[in-house]
Every structure is written in structure tokens, then in C-alpha cells.
């Protein structure tokens, strides 16, 4: 065996590992949420453009 056992240090290590994992998972979830809402907003902003384009096409057809 190499050195004395320190179970208090091991317990601290496990608790801190859980804390770091929780922070990492939360950051990952936040990043996913931000990218999801970003894509959602982009879709909503694109909608009026689509309608405008369709209206423009109808107007063009009528002109012709």
C-alpha cells in the first residue's frame, strides 16, 4: 500500500465530481435551449418574408 487511507478526502472528491458534472450538464442544457430558441426565432422571423414573396408572386401573375 502507498500512503495512509484518507476516506474524508475521497468523499470530498466524489461530492466535488458530482458538483462539476452538474455544472457541466446545466451548461450543456442551457446551450441546447439557447440554440433551440435561436432556431425557433429564426423560423418565426422568416415567415413574413415567405408570405411577402407569395404575395409578390400573385401580384406578378396578375400583372401578366
Amino acid at each position: 500500500m502507498c500512503g495512509p487511507a484518507d476516506y474524508q478526502a475521497l468523499q470530498t472528491c466524489i461530492v466535488r465530481m458530482v458538483e462539476v458534472s452538474a455544472v457541466g450538464l446545466t451548461a450543456c442544457a442551457l446551450q441546447q435551449a439557447v440554440s433551440y430558441f435561436g432556431a425557433f426565432r429564426a423560423d418565426r422571423l422568416r415567415l413574413p418574408e415567405t408570405q411577402l414573396t407569395a404575395d409578390a408572386v400573385v401580384a406578378l401573375v396578375e400583372v401578366k
Binding site: P4, C13, M17
Partner: protein
Amino acid sequence: MEDRMACEKDPPMQLQARVLGVSALVGAVGGAIFLFVFPKGSITTLMHHVLGLPGPGAGIALILGPVALVFILLSSHLVRRTGSALVTALGFSITYAALAAIVGLPTNEKGAFGSLWFILGLATCGIVAEGMLFLTRSLKPQWRWLLTACCANLALLIFCWTVIFPRTKGWVSWDAVPMLLANALAGGLVAGIVGRGISTRLPGLTGPGQRR
């Protein structure tokens, strides 16, 4: 676009400011996390008293090496330039040593954590990772990462056996060598898989560059 073109024109060995900055930052974060998560005594207790592994070197093979290699591979993926692995390894070890000295935290004496030898050991690990990433550049990414992590972890373990432990604990016994080598390979495999798993979710920061 201009930035991307500029990256492709650069000579391969040139360490740009961005490479240095991002790699050192990733290494520094890794060193700080390692210092926070593994207080003195925890690795020794886990390796020798809970898992019953022989020593010295089990903690290097299964904890220090794999943790450092995850950050080294992650930085290498983010920056995609030659030199990033070495800079990350140096950032990791120097941050660990500096924080431990500033905060006054006790560190593992047997592995000389936070000493000049510790920094040199991780630098060796970074150089081997750098060399392996270059030599295996034609392989598929997953094989590259696994081979790199295994070889770099073995290099770190052998450095500790030959340079650090003779000064602190004594030479490793021949009976323990096969088991510890197997541990180093297993640790390297896990580091390669975890590093690859995290990196596939992250985009590179500097375009295609030298390492694709």
C-alpha cells in the same frame, strides 16, 4: 472567410496568438478542475485502498493522465493546429502548480504534483500527444484519438516511473508493471472515447487548418 484563408496560409509550426490563448485557457480550466476535484489523499485512497491496485503509478494511469488527455484532445479539436496539445499540457500543469502554491493547498507528494517534475511529465505527455496526432493524421478520427490518448498516457506513466517515483517513493516493482500498463491503456482508451464524445458536439474555432 478571410480568417479562414489566413489560417490555411500559415506555416504549420507557427504558434499563433489564438492557438496559444485557447489552448492555454483549456489547459488552465482543466488544471483548476483537477485541483478542485481531487484533494490530497483522494487518489491514493481510491486506487490502493478501495480498488486495491498496485503502485506506484495507478493514480497517474487512471486519473491524472486521462483527465489531462481529455482536455488536451479537446483543445486539439478546438484549435486544430500543431502545438495546441503541448500548450494545453503546459497550461494544465502550470495552472495546477500555481493555484496549489497560491491557495496553499497540500498536494500529492508521491507523484510530486505541482512540482517542476510534474510540469515536465505533463509536457512529455503533451509532446507525445502532439507527435501521435501528427503520425496518425491519415487515420479515421476515432482511431487517431484512441491511439494518441493511449500512447500519451503510457508516456506519462513511464516518465513518472523513471523520473518522479525514484525520487519520492522508489522504483516500481516488476510484478506491478503489467497491471499498471494495462491500467494506462484502459485510461487512455476512456480518455480518447470521452474526448471524442465531447468534441463531436463542439465546432472547431479556427476552420479546417492543418488537422482535419
